[in-house]
């Protein structure tokens, strides 16, 4: 048993729902007890879907367990087929139905429906959401495209000289982190390269579309967590190569263009030259110099974490001080990336471990999921959300892709806005004696919480609004004063969480009065950092009393 407070991933049948809901003409009959229908609200509330997910649940209860749950399942399949007339049917079990072993696949087959029926075996006690989505997509692709496979060993026919190269885009799903906008951005990019998109799947695809996946020359894998397994099978079966680079960030987008051009046999130079992102210039502009070496902790699904770290290090000049993922299936890729930045990879799905790692790394910015947003808020560190699990805020009304040139612009803003702007930092030094800038001023964009060290008082509300509680997002453009006080919260020790050094200290650390006084002469927005660094320095040397000399020794030690 694993003690779980929050989970990064839903159970695997929710992954299957993401595939079914993304597609047209597919229905999913899920053998599940009453209550499992909660999963519908993920789609209708978080993603604001205008239609119910195409899922029929058997919703069995205790009294059904005494009679015949298998019969109930068969009735549900029959009724769902008659009512919804899908072109393909997925059948499977949720965690509880897995235990009663009714064999949904066999039961559905026995009904002899005139459409393809895809049985799903998604072991709920071993696997999770992304695995479930990948497995479901793979099974669907195999079942629907399989009959169109050429005989084993036959070579792909060469493309005609006048035919444009064609690709499929694989991986976008319902409830995906910005999938809707990524598809739009990448489709445009492929179009500019002269590549025709054969099928986008699963998002928006019909079973008939899946059946003709093999007609494309190659595959673009947008989200390996979901499409890698299917792409591997398409490679083996149809000889379709697939892209390895996920175009998140300026550099990755350029690499992606080169990779696609190679697969398509075309010249990438015009597109590489023609469609620059603003992000590189913004990164080079003088206002961004203050970003240099900012300590950043990155955690998310493997794709977004690896991409986020690369952007942070290479495109913003941050220092990556932590990198991790909850995607165990892609742990190897994250380990390889972590090695590049010289950090210990964190592979875990326990958010408390992530919280501890963040606290220990003393980052100045956290790039994470909604859970790290809360952790960061508690620690008083700015945070940007870069990955699922999704929240209603991850489905913005505006166009906000993560991929391609526009995605790079969006990410520049996403990563930088939680921090203070460069010019503001200078003005702050000038105005630091202003009464409004005192160290205890409540930061505006981190909410009252940062100064109290608690989550915002939504908890005090007797009416927590389900699923969609609005909480302030870092990233709204702050006024100068607001930004100032925000940074104050970042740097001060207002949060009651003891610094890691002090907490771990076997000897209680004490500040001499004159050292404490000297500390207060340091601008408040870096005072917290100075305090933490000094305490860490003292701790490492076994000192119990911090004097003025210790303070300056530490300053010299940590100065870059």
């Amino acid at each position: 048993m694993q003690l779980t407070v929050w989970t990064y991933e839903a159970p695997p049948h929710v992954g299957a729902m993401r595939i079914a809901t993304a597609m047209e003409g597919v229905h999913y009959v899920l053998h599940a007890p009453q209550g499992d229908t909660y999963a519908d609200l993920l789609f209708t509330m978080i993603e604001r879907a205008t239609k119910r997910p195409p899922v029929t649940y058997t919703t069995f209860q205790a009294r059904d367990l005494g009679s015949d749950t298998a019969e109930l399942f068969k009735t549900s399949v029959k009724e769902a087929y008659e009512r919804f007339r899908p072109q393909a049917l997925l059948v499977g079990a949720s965690c509880t139905a897995e235990l009663i072993q009714d064999d949904p696949g066999g039961l559905a087959r026995a009904l002899d429906l005139p459409i393809p029926v895809v049985p799903l075996e998604l072991p709920a006690y071993q696997r999770k959401e992304n695995w479930g989505a990948a497995e479901t997509f793979y099974r669907l692709v195999r079942t629907l495209a399989g009959p169109h496979a050429p005989p084993p060993g036959s070579k792909r026919p060469a493309r005609g000289p006048d035919d444009a190269p064609r690709c499929n885009i694989l991986g976008p799903t319902a409830l995906g982190f910005r999938h809707r906008d990524d598809v739009h951005e990448v489709t445009g990019l492929l179009h500019r390269l002269g590549v025709t998109v054969n099928v986008v799947a699963p998002l928006g695809a019909t079973p008939a579309d899946i059946a003709r996946l093999g007609e494309a020359d190659f595959n673009v894998v947008l989200y390996p967590e979901i499409a890698y397994q299917a792409a591997q099978w398409l490679d083996r079966t149809f000889g379709q190569k697939s892209t390895k680079v996920v175009p998140i960030g300026v550099g990755a987008t350029r690499d992606f263009i080169a990779e696609v051009a190679a697969l398509a046999g075309i010249d990438p130079a015009p597109v590489l030259a023609g469609a620059p992102s603003r992000a590189p210039w913004y990164a080079r502009s003088v206002d961004s110099t203050y970003l240099t070496g900012k300590r950043v902790f990155v955690f998310g699904d493997a794709t977004h974490a690896i991409a986020g770290a690369r952007i942070a290090a290479d495109e913003l000049g941050f220092e990556v001080v932590g990198l991790g993922t909850y995607s165990r299936e892609f742990a190897r890729d994250v380990r390889a990336a972590a090695a590049k930045y010289g950090v210990e990879p964190l592979i875990t799905d326990d958010y408390l471990d992530v919280e501890a790692a963040i606290a220990a790394a003393h980052p100045e910015l956290v790039l994470g999921t909604q859970m790290e947003r809360h952790t960061a808020k508690r620690l008083g560190v700015p945070c940007a959300v870069i990955s699922a699990p999704v929240h209603v805020q991850d489905f913005p009304a505006r166009y906000a892709p993560q991929m391609g040139h526009e995605g790079a612009n969006v990410l520049f803003d996403t990563f930088v806005h939680p921090l203070m702007m460069g010019l503001e930092e200078h003005l702050l030094t000038m105005f630091r004696e202003d009464f409004e800038f005192h160290a205890d001023a409540a930061p505006s964009h981190l909410g009252v919480a940062a100064s109290r060290g608690e989550a915002p008082s939504v908890a005090a509300d007797p009416a927590p609004v389900p699923a969609v509680s609005p909480t302030p997002v870092p990233g709204s453009v702050p006024s100068m004063a607001a930004a100032a006080s925000a940074e104050a919260a970042v740097a001060t020790d207002a949060a009651p969480i003891p610094s890691a050094a002090a907490a771990a200290s076997p000897v209680p650390l004490r500040w001499a009065a004159d050292a404490e006084k000297e500390l207060h002469k340091i601008p408040f927005f870096v005072r917290g950092k100075a305090r933490r660094n000094t305490e860490r320095f003292a701790q490492d040397r076994g000192l119990s009393l911090i004097t003025i000399e210790t303070l300056y020794d530490a300053k010299a030690h940590f100065s870059r």
Binding site: Q34, G35, C95, Y125, E454, A455, A459, A467, V468
Partner: protein
């Protein structure tokens, strides 16, 4: 009392036929009750013994990560527990020990059963007894089931409160009659009620569940039981078994329901009629005045309830009689005729009642009726809005303080808001 409490007509829906449906039920399981119970009993922790689905349900239903570290968690059963590689009981002991070490503020720990824990027949009652012995006297450990196999949504609260009944002390043998109000209410509502009971001269009033787990009210033959929520069948049964007498009353929703509810208590305690009216009438009048504005907007509008919380019948009674709304269908997951007797008597005759659910059939009926307002769960609300139907999330009717006189207008406002919003939007 007659001044404010309408005489119960013999008509109503007491013997009305009910459409009983079986099929897909678009409802939460009882685990969802943890979302409000953990706010109510503030030194209790709820440990669900279940699957990743249970954990995911809780975080999705609670609003993803509202709380920094909430007082609920899930012990997720893994493959090795099922394969017998790990002894489920010793695994549970390990998880509970870790949890109690981490949260020294916990005084009461609930082991909450789930669908998987029931199917694998993990005996959480025995586990609770065993663990209680190891952690006594610091932490009490009790068990209840929020499994979807046994409980629908609010029945989770019933199961939780029922698990606490055996711990309630017995009243003194010669104790004078006392009133026990049962069902989780917002504190502000409890305080209002306590003041009103005092004003009409009922002094010995306790609320269950208490705000602190070690403050359980006593129960015994002198206890008069007044249910504040319509979904507490098992809790009421156990309290009656311990000698309490249940008072028949409508539920304190709306002016009429609240007046009838206080009236039932007043009759049981022999409260003088003049004193009752002096306290209740001005409150009822103030609430009626506050309601009037919403009634103007809602009168004549048609209303359709999908089953959700078992609050549907009292809410429908309120909407029909105090807001002048027309009831198309009142769906409820479970219709407890005993506890709802006073409510059914007040429902307009001929109201269509349905129990259980076949969600696709019910959606067909709803679409055919095109009601002005549909009360439904979160899975259905946006799809129905997209089809052009105005909806009210049923869960908000449960999470918002709506009981009592002072909240009657707030309750009306919840029904009015979707319609007001539609009239404002020009897009």
């Amino acid at each position: 009392m007659n001044a404010v409490v309408a005489p119960v007509a013999n008509a109503g829906c007491v013997d009305a036929p009910v459409l009983y449906e079986r099929g897909q039920r678009e409802v939460f399981c009882g685990l969802t009750g943890i979302v409000w119970l953990h706010r109510k009993i503030q030194d209790a922790f709820f440990l669900v013994v279940g699957s990743r689905t249970c954990a995911h349900l809780l975080q999705s239903a609670a609003g993803v990560m509202i709380f920094a570290e909430p007082r609920f968690a899930t012990a997720v059963i893994e493959e090795r527990d099922l394969a017998g590689l790990a002894d489920a009981n010793s695994e549970l002991d390990r998880v509970v020990t870790r949890l109690i070490e981490r949260r020294p503020d916990i005084r009461l720990l609930f082991l909450v059963g789930s669908c998987p824990s029931e199917v694998i027949k993990l005996d959480l009652d025995r586990a609770a007894t065993r663990l209680s012995q190891s952690f006594a006297p610091r932490v009490r450990i009790r068990a209840w089931s929020g499994s979807g196999l046994d409980t629908t949504f609010t029945q989770g609260e019933d199961a939780c409160l029922a698990a606490l009944v055996p711990d309630m002390p017995a009243t003194e043998a010669d104790a004078p009659p006392s009133l026990l109000v049962v069902g989780a209410l917002a504190e502000v509502v409890e305080d209002q009620m306590a003041r009103l009971f005092a004003e009409i001269g009922i002094e010995r009033v306790r609320f269950f569940p208490p705000r602190r787990s070690d403050d359980l009210p006593p129960v015994g033959p002198g206890t008069r039981l007044l249910l504040a929520q319509p979904f507490l069948a098992e809790t009421a049964r156990l309290l009656e078994k311990r000698g309490a007498t249940r008072l028949t009353a409508p539920f304190p929703l709306g002016v009429e329901g609240t007046a009838g509810w206080f009236g039932a208590a007043a009759r049981a305690f022999g409260v003088d009629e003049a004193r009752f009216d002096a306290a209740i009438a001005p409150r009822a009048e103030r609430a009626r005045t506050a309601l009037a504005r919403h009634r103007e907007r809602l009168a004549g509008k048609s209303l359709f309830f999908f089953p959700d919380s078992q609050l549907e019948v009292p809410l429908a009674r309120f909407a029909a009689r105090e807001l002048g709304m027309r009831l198309v269908e009142v769906g409820t997951p479970y219709l407890h005729r005993g506890h709802l007797a006073a409510e059914l008597a007040l429902l307009p005759p001929g109201t269509m009642l349905s129990e259980g659910q076949n969600v696709d059939n019910q959606l067909d009926r709803c679409r055919a009726a095109q009601p002005d307002l549909t009360v439904c769960g979160l899975g259905l609300a946006n799809p129905l809005e997209a089809e052009g139907l105005a909806t009210k999330w049923s869960i908000e009717l449960l999470f918002t303080p709506v009981h009592g006189f002072e909240q009657a207008a707030d309750l009306a406002e919840l029904f009015a808001r979707p319609l007001v919003r539609r009239s404002r939007l020009k897009v």
